[in-house]
C-alpha cells in the first residue's frame, strides 16, 4: 500500500513541505526537458530496482520460486515475487512468461514479465532481457506499453509494465478480418508509435498481432520489445545470425539472418504484414515448418490480399504491398511515412504509392529472367503510362490552395446541402466513417483536408504521454475552431487548435447517451471523424455532426477571428449563438 507520506510515483518519502503535497523530485523530473527525462528514466528504474531489492519481504517466495526452477507458474494459491503478488499467467513466449500481478507497495496492477530460464539463464539470455527492458524503458508514448520497473529478484530477471486491459490484435484477428478502415486506422496508430521508438533509436524487430494490444478505449498499444535492439549500441546478440522473431511477420532480411541489415525498414515490413493479417485473417506467409515459412518470406511474393478478401480495395492493397517489398529501400522510408499514407487512404485522398501493377510483376519476373527483361521493360513503361493517366483522371485531388474565407464559406455552404439521411448509415452502424462513408464525398474531403491543413501547421514531437507542438508556421489563415453540434443529443463537440495542440477535445453539455472518449492519436493526425467514439468502440461521430457545423478562422496569428457557421437543419442550436458564431451571409 502507498503510505500517506510516500510518493505514489517514485516511492520516496514525501517531505512535509512538499509543494501542494506533490513529491518535489517527481515534479522536477517532469520539468526536465524531454531528452533529459529519458536519461533519468533509466537511472530511476535502476534505482527502483535496487530500492526494491532491499525491501523484498514476500513470504516464502524464494524457496517456492526455486522449487519451480526454470518455469515459474501460478496456481490457485497466491504467490509473491518480491513486492509483486502474482495473480495469473497472461502469456508465455520463447523467452519469458508474463503474469498479471499486483505491486503491493503501490497497490497497482501490473504485467510482470519474467525471464523463463531464471537462475539458469545464459549470459546472452540475460543481456537480451536487459536490452528489452532498457529499450522499452526509454519509450514514453501512449501507443507503447510503458515499463515501470526492471530488476532482478532471487536470480530471476524481471520487469513490470502497465497492465493493458483488453485483447491482443491476434485475438481480434482470430475472430475474422477487420473492417478495412478499422485495420488501416489501427495499423496507422501502431505505425505512429513505432516511429516514436525509431526516433529514440529503438527497433522493435518482432512486430506481430500478438504484440499489439488493444485497450478498452480501442487504443492500440505496442508491447514486448523482446527483440528490440538499440541502434546506437550495436550488440552481438544476433551476431551468430540466429533468427529472432515470429516467422510469418519477419522481414526478408531477418528471415535470411542478415542481421547487419536489420533497421527501421524491417519494422515497416512487419507493419505491412500486420496490416495484411488484419485484412485477410492470416499472415502473408505461412507454411508447415518454420524453415519453409522463412524460405517463403525470403523468396516468394505473398498472395495478393484482395484474392483472399475481395473487399480489399486497390489502394489498401498497394499500401500493403509496398510495405512487403523484399528490398528495404522499396518500402516506405519510415513508419511515419506509412502512417501518413494510411491517413491519405482513410480520408480518401490519393495515396502516394503506385499500385503494383502487371508492369511491376513482369519486371520482377524479368529480374529472374534477364534475357527477356528488356522486352518486358518496354511493355511496363507503356502500361504504367496508361495506368497513370487513367488513375489521375478517375480520382480528384484536394486543392492545395491556402485556406481562404471564400473557401471556408464554400465549405459551410456545402455543409448545408447535406441531408440528414446522408449520415444515417454511419449513425446506425458501428462502421468507422471515412471519406467513402459520406454521400457528399467532396465535403468530407475538404473538411478533412482543411483540418489536415490546420494540423499541418503544428509540428509535433512524440513525447509520449505529453504532446509538444512547435509554434504554428505563419499562414494566412488557420482554422480557429470547428464545432459539431447535435441539437437532438443536446451537446456540442468543440475542436479548437488550442486544444488540439494539447491533444484534447472539449465536450460540453449533456452526455446522457454514453461516455465519449477522444482518441489522442487520431486527433493529432487530424481525423475529425475519429474524434469521438463510445467506450465500447462504436462510432458516434455522425451524431455529433447532425445539426450544425461551425468553422472559425484565425488570420495570420494576429488573433483576428473570422467566424463562419451554418446550421444544417435551418434551426440554429443554442450552442451556435456564441459571439464567434454568426451565420454565413
Amino acid at each position: 500500500m502507498v503510505q500517506p507520506n510516500e510518493c505514489p510515483t517514485c516511492g520516496r518519502r514525501l517531505p512535509p513541505d512538499a509543494p501542494a503535497g506533490v513529491c518535489p523530485r517527481c515534479l522536477l523530473k517532469a520539468g526536465l526537458s524531454e531528452s533529459e527525462r529519458g536519461t533519468v528514466d533509466d537511472a530511476t528504474l535502476a534505482h527502483n530496482a535496487m530500492h526494491n531489492e532491499d525491501q523484498f519481504d514476500g513470504p516464502a517466495t524464494e524457496s517456492e520460486m526455486n522449487r519451480q526452477g526454470v518455469s515459474p507458474s501460478v496456481g490457485t494459491e497466491v504467490r509473491y515475487f518480491g513486492e509483486y503478488e502474482l495473480l495469473d499467467e497472461i502469456a508465455r513466449g520463447g523467452m519469458g512468461v508474463v503474469f498479471r500481478a499486483r505491486q503491493t507497495r503501490l497497490n497497482r496492477m501490473v504485467a510482470l514479465k519474467m525471464i523463463l530460464s531464471g537462475r539458469l539463464a545464459t549470459e546472452a539470455d540475460v543481456r537480451r532481457f536487459q536490452t528489452e527492458a532498457e529499450a522499452a524503458a526509454q519509450l514514453d508514448h501512449p501507443g507503447i506499453v510503458p515499463v515501470f520497473e526492471v530488476g532482478q529478484h532471487d536470480g530471476h530477471h524481471f520487469y513490470s509494465m502497465a497492465l493493458v486491459e483488453g485483447e491482443s490484435l491476434a485475438h481480434r484477428i482470430a475472430e475474422g478480418p477487420l473492417a478495412l478502415s478499422e485495420a488501416a486506422e489501427l495499423v496507422k496508430s501502431v505505425a505512429i508509435a513505432v516511429h516514436h521508438a525509431h526516433e529514440k533509436g529503438v527497433i522493435h524487430r518482432d512486430l506481430k498481432p500478438a504484440n499489439i494490444l488493444i485497450d478498452r478505449d480501442g487504443q492500440a498499444r505496442v508491447t514486448d520489445f523482446g527483440l528490440a535492439r538499440q541502434k546506437a549500441t550495436e550488440s552481438s546478440l544476433t551476431a551468430d545470425g540466429q533468427v529472432l522473431g515470429t516467422p510469418g511477420y519477419l522481414s526478408p532480411e531477418q528471415a535470411t539472418g542478415s542481421s547487419a541489415q536489420v533497421n527501421e525498414a524491417a519494422d515497416v515490413y512487419s507493419l505491412g504484414a500486420v496490416l495484411y493479417a488484419a485484412l485477410t485473417g492470416r499472415p502473408p506467409f505461412q507454411a508447415d515448418t518454420v524453415v519453409a515459412t522463412l524460405k517463403q518470406v525470403a523468396e516468394c511474393d505473398p498472395v495478393q490480399p484482395s484474392s483472399i478478401n475481395a473487399d480489399i480495395d486497390i489502394d489498401l492493397q498497394t499500401i500493403v504491398q509496398k510495405c512487403l517489398e523484399k528490398r528495404p529501400e522499396d518500402r516506405y522510408a519510415s513508419a511515419a511515412e506509412l502512417a501518413e499514407e494510411l491517413d491519405r487512404y482513410l480520408i480518401g485522398v490519393p495515396i502516394h504509392a503506385r499500385p503494383v501493377g502487371y508492369s511491376q510483376r513482369l519486371w520482377r519476373w524479368g529480374r529472374r529472367r534477364p534475357l527477356v527483361l528488356a522486352l518486358v521493360a518496354s511493355v511496363c513503361v507503356a502500361i504504367l503510362a496508361i495506368a497513370g493517366l487513367i488513375y489521375q483522371s478517375s480520382t480528384g485531388s484536394v486543392s492545395d490552395d491556402e485556406l481562404t474565407p471564400a473557401l471556408a464559406g464554400q465549405l459551410v455552404s456545402e455543409a448545408a446541402s447535406i441531408r440528414n439521411d446522408d449520415w444515417a448509415d454511419i449513425a446506425s452502424g458501428s462502421t468507422m466513417p471515412s471519406a467513402s462513408s459520406f454521400s457528399n464525398r467532396s465535403l468530407s474531403l475538404i473538411l478533412f483536408s482543411l483540418f489536415g491543413k490546420s494540423l499541418d501547421q503544428l509540428g509535433h514531437s512524440n513525447a509520449a504521454d505529453d504532446f509538444h507542438y512547435a509554434e504554428p508556421r505563419p499562414k494566412p489563415y488557420q482554422i480557429a475552431q470547428a464545432i459539431w453540434i447535435s441539437k437532438e443529443k443536446g451537446y456540442a463537440s468543440f475542436i479548437q487548435p488550442e486544444y488540439i495542440t494539447d491533444c484534447s477535445v472539449q465536450q460540453e453539455g449533456d452526455t446522457a447517451h454514453g461516455t465519449v472518449s477522444f482518441s489522442v492519436h487520431e486527433l493529432y493526425a487530424g481525423r475529425l471523424s475519429y474524434v469521438a467514439r463510445r467506450i465500447d468502440g462504436s462510432w458516434i461521430v455522425a451524431e455529433l455532426h447532425i445539426s450544425g457545423l461551425g468553422v472559425s478562422l484565425q488570420r495570420g496569428g494576429d488573433g483576428d477571428w473570422g467566424p463562419l457557421s451554418r446550421s444544417l437543419d435551418g434551426e440554429t442550436p443554442e450552442q451556435q449563438n456564441e459571439p464567434r458564431q454568426v451565420p454565413v451571409p
Binding site: P8, T9, P15, D17, A18, C26, L27, A30, L32, M109
Partner: protein, 247 residues
C-alpha cells in the same frame, strides 16, 4: 482562454528576457533604481526560506538564525553586495548563497548586534511555517544540500500555487487537486478511478493531466526565468535542482 496565451508566454520568454526580475536587478547593480529595487525585494521575499534553512543547519540557536537571515536580507536590499564582481551572479540562487556565506563569515561574531529590539526591522518574514517543518529535516544533509533542496521546494511551491490559482480561476479546482499527483508521473491505472470524480472519461482525464503537466512545465520555466539572467540557464537550472534530489 485564448490560444494565443501560451504563445505569448513563450514570446515573452524569448524576446523580453532582459526584463525578468534577476536580470533587472543585475542590470541596475548597486545603483538605486525603483523597478530593480522592487524586483530584488520580490525575489528576497520569495526565496528567503532556503537561506533560512541553510543557516538553521549551521547555527544552533533559532533566534540567532532568524536574526542573521533578516539582517542579511536587509543588507542585501540596501544593495551592499550587488556591486561585487562575482562569477556566480548569473543565477540568483548561486549569488544568494555565496553572498550569505560571506556575510556569515564576516558577521557571525557580531550576531548579538542583530538581536531583536536592536533596531527597526526592514525585512520581516514569518519564520513559523519554516520552523514547523524543521524537525523533519534530515540531519544527514549538509547545509548546502539543505539550501539547494529548500530552494527547489520553494520554487516548486510557487509554481504549484500559480498553477492552482490558474485552474481555480477557470473552475478546475477539483481537477488540480485530483490530477496534481500525475504531474510527476502518469500511471494509467489510476485515471480510471479518478475520472468519475471529475465527470470525465478515463482518456479525457488523462488528457486533462497531460494539459496540466504541460502548463506546469511552462510555469516552471517562467518562474526559473525570474531568477537567472539568461535563457540558456533555465534548462541547466532544472537539471541541477533535480540533481539535488538524487541520492
Amino acid at each position: 482562454m485564448k490560444s494565443s496565451d501560451k504563445s505569448n508566454l513563450q514570446r515573452n520568454n524569448a524576446d523580453q528576457f532582459a526584463t525578468t526580475q534577476w536580470s533587472l536587478v543585475l542590470a541596475a547593480g548597486n545603483r538605486s533604481h525603483e523597478e530593480s529595487n522592487r524586483a530584488l525585494e520580490k525575489l528576497c521575499r520569495a526565496y528567503w526560506p532556503p537561506l533560512y534553512a541553510y543557516v538553521r543547519r549551521r547555527v544552533s540557536d533559532v533566534h540567532q538564525a532568524q536574526d542573521l537571515t533578516q539582517a542579511f536580507f536587509e543588507r542585501l536590499l540596501e544593495k551592499e553586495y550587488l556591486a561585487d564582481a562575482d562569477p556566480e551572479r548569473g543565477r540568483f540562487r548561486s549569488f544568494l548563497i555565496t553572498a550569505f556565506k560571506r556575510f556569515l563569515a564576516k558577521e557571525h561574531g557580531k550576531a548579538t548586534a542583530y538581536k531583536r529590539g536592536g533596531g527597526q526591522r526592514t525585512f520581516t518574514v514569518d519564520f513559523e511555517p519554516q520552523d514547523r517543518n524543521w524537525g523533519e529535516r534530515q540531519n544527514s544533509l549538509t547545509a548546502q544540500q539543505i539550501y539547494e533542496r529548500q530552494w527547489a521546494v520553494t520554487l516548486l511551491d510557487r509554481v504549484m500555487t500559480r498553477l492552482r490559482r490558474e485552474m481555480e480561476r477557470s473552475g478546475k479546482s477539483q481537477q488540480f487537486h485530483l490530477l496534481k499527483v500525475f504531474i510527476g508521473g502518469s500511471e494509467s491505472a489510476n485515471y480510471a478511478t479518478i475520472a468519475p470524480a471529475l465527470g470525465l472519461s478515463e482518456s479525457a482525464a488523462r488528457m486533462a493531466a497531460s494539459r496540466m503537466r504541460r502548463r506546469y512545465r511552462e510555469l516552471l520555466r517562467d518562474e526559473i526565468a525570474q531568477t537567472v539572467d539568461s535563457q540558456e540557464d533555465i534548462e541547466s537550472e532544472v537539471q541541477q535542482l533535480f540533481a539535488t534530489f538524487s541520492e
